[in-house]
């Protein structure tokens, strides 16, 4: 089977890989790029654990062909902390104990990052609807939502120069 050559930007760096046409972006990230922070849950777009940011939009990498990544800009959980400094969402998830087993966490962090970039003052309801496609089976959603809303507060305070 002829492989497809893909060059794409992942977390700000231009990367190249060869993939089978049936492989998903999730397969490419984990198996070719060895970026195993992105997790596979259901593999059918229901659970959101494979969420990545694709040209600015949060998507399920399990529902995207690897070949579609050609020329695109992809952000994964590995690019979230900068220079050893955790992203405010990551800090707040730790502070609020918003994770237990951690399988859903990378996806929820990426989806939350996309939310706060679009709206740094979401209501609780908006945050819950936005994250409805991210399932968590151990922590429960209250701590996660509290962490996201607290991170939003901090982002607002920083941008207000407080």
């Amino acid at each position: 089977m002829k492989k497809v050559h893909v060059s794409t930007t992942i977390n700000g760096t231009l990367k190249e890989f060869l993939c089978d046409t049936r492989e998903t972006l999730l397969d490419a990230l984990r198996d070719h790029m060895l970026l195993t922070g992105t997790k596979e849950g259901c593999g059918t777009g229901d659970c959101g654990s494979c969420s990545v940011i694709f040209d600015g939009d949060v998507i399920c990498s399990c529902l995207t062909l690897a070949a579609e990544a050609e020329g695109r800009n992809i952000e994964t959980i590995e690019g979230m902390a900068e220079g050893g400094e955790l992203h405010v969402l990551q800090k707040k998830f730790l502070e609020h104990a918003a994770l237990q087993c951690g399988i859903c966490t990378p996806g929820i962090l990426m989806a939350s990052k996309a939310l706060l970039k679009k709206n740094n003052n979401p209501s609780e309801e908006e945050a819950r609807f936005w994250l409805a496609g991210n399932l968590c089976r151990c922590t429960g959603y209250d701590k996660i939502i509290n962490a996201v809303l607290d991170a939003a507060r901090e982002i607002r305070e920083e941008s207000d120069g407080v």
Binding site: M1, V4, T21, R22, T24, G43, T44, G45, D46, G48, S51, F54, D57, V58, I59, C60, C62, L63, T64, L65, A67, E68, E70, A111, A114, L115, F129, W130, L131, A132, G133, N134
Partner: protein
């Protein structure tokens, strides 16, 4: 599996029509990828159409809202001019899946998948929407209702695919609405859906279309019920008759999401509520 990603519509027509094996169009991919990964389909070729600029069009052309096959659901639900004109169509599109799915899924894909429970279809049919189809013989326009053959099937020949949805501009003093019933609040498949499009004159309904989803192999026009509400202001006796008519015209199946009896009853209730909501909207804009 061959992967193609043409950059012009002419290239796409050439590639797609000349390929004789099994093939799938990849727009948002939220249905196709699941089918692919679970071996429900094993196409020999997949053609990604997202690199074709004209399929990202979302604008008014010659009296129609033109929505390209590559336009994502979230682009539709963010377009305030479109939402204010066709709130019901936007409601249906907005109900499809999560944030992640909305960013990829397309309305043309929802139509092409032709699920009896598709949330995107009833309001489109109620709005008398059409599709633009291209193939080896050139392009043609067909209305959405007659395009659908049955579950998962469209009346398209092997060389053809849909490029755009064409939605007529909404008339004056008119509005639409889409409602669905699911047992939870988010992320579920319609047990029953109902799209309504109506116009009012002197506070009475002057034209109406009622379209039921998920209660038959394809969407059902409740024409007798629509006729009944003409010249009315949706008074109590009209509503009661209307509900009964919608219950009778529905031909649902019993499955894990609802029994025949339950689905019939909900069809009546949703038709009532969708009519009331569209009516209130139409009065607001008139």
């Amino acid at each position: 599996m061959k992967y193609e990603a043409p950059e012009t519509i002419d290239q796409a027509i050439d590639i797609y029509s000349k390929f004789n094996g099994s093939k799938k169009i990849l727009a948002g991919g939220t249905d196709v990828l699941v089918q692919l990964r679970t071996d429900i389909v094993r196409p020999e070729m997949v053609m990604n159409i997202k690199k074709i600029n004209s399929l990202h069009e979302f604008c008014i052309v010659d009296g129609y809202w033109k929505i390209g096959a590559a336009v994502s659901a979230s682009k539709i639900t963010k377009n305030t001019a479109f939402i204010s004109e066709w709130p019901g169509i936007a409601e249906g599109v907005g109900l499809i899946g999560s944030t992640q799915i909305q960013n990829r899924a397309t309305l043309v894909g929802n139509l092409s998948n032709a699920s009896p429970a598709a949330d995107g279809i009833p309001a489109l049919v109620a709005a008398n929407a059409k599709v633009e189809i291209v193939g080896q013989q050139g392009s043609r326009v067909k209305d959405v209702y007659s395009l659908i053959e049955g579950p998962g099937k469209l009346h398209l020949s092997k060389d053809e695919f849909i490029t755009h949805i064409l939605i007529p501009l909404q008339r004056d003093r008119s509005a639409d609405c889409y409602l669905r019933f699911i047992p939870r609040t988010e992320m579920d498949i319609a047990v029953v859906g109902c799209g309504v499009n109506l116009s009012v004159k002197n506070q009475s309904i002057s034209s109406a279309k009622i379209v039921l989803g998920a209660v038959g192999p394809k969407v059902i026009f409740a024409d007798e019920a629509a006729e009944l509400v003409l010249n009315s202001r949706l008074d109590k006796d009209v509503i009661l008759k209307l509900q009964r008519m919608c219950e009778e015209i529905a031909t649902p199946i019993s499955d894990k999401r609802g029994s025949i009896r339950f689905r019939r009853q909900v069809a009546g209730v949703l038709a009532k509520r969708a009519l009331q909501k569209a009516y209130a909207r139409a009065l607001e804009v008139s």
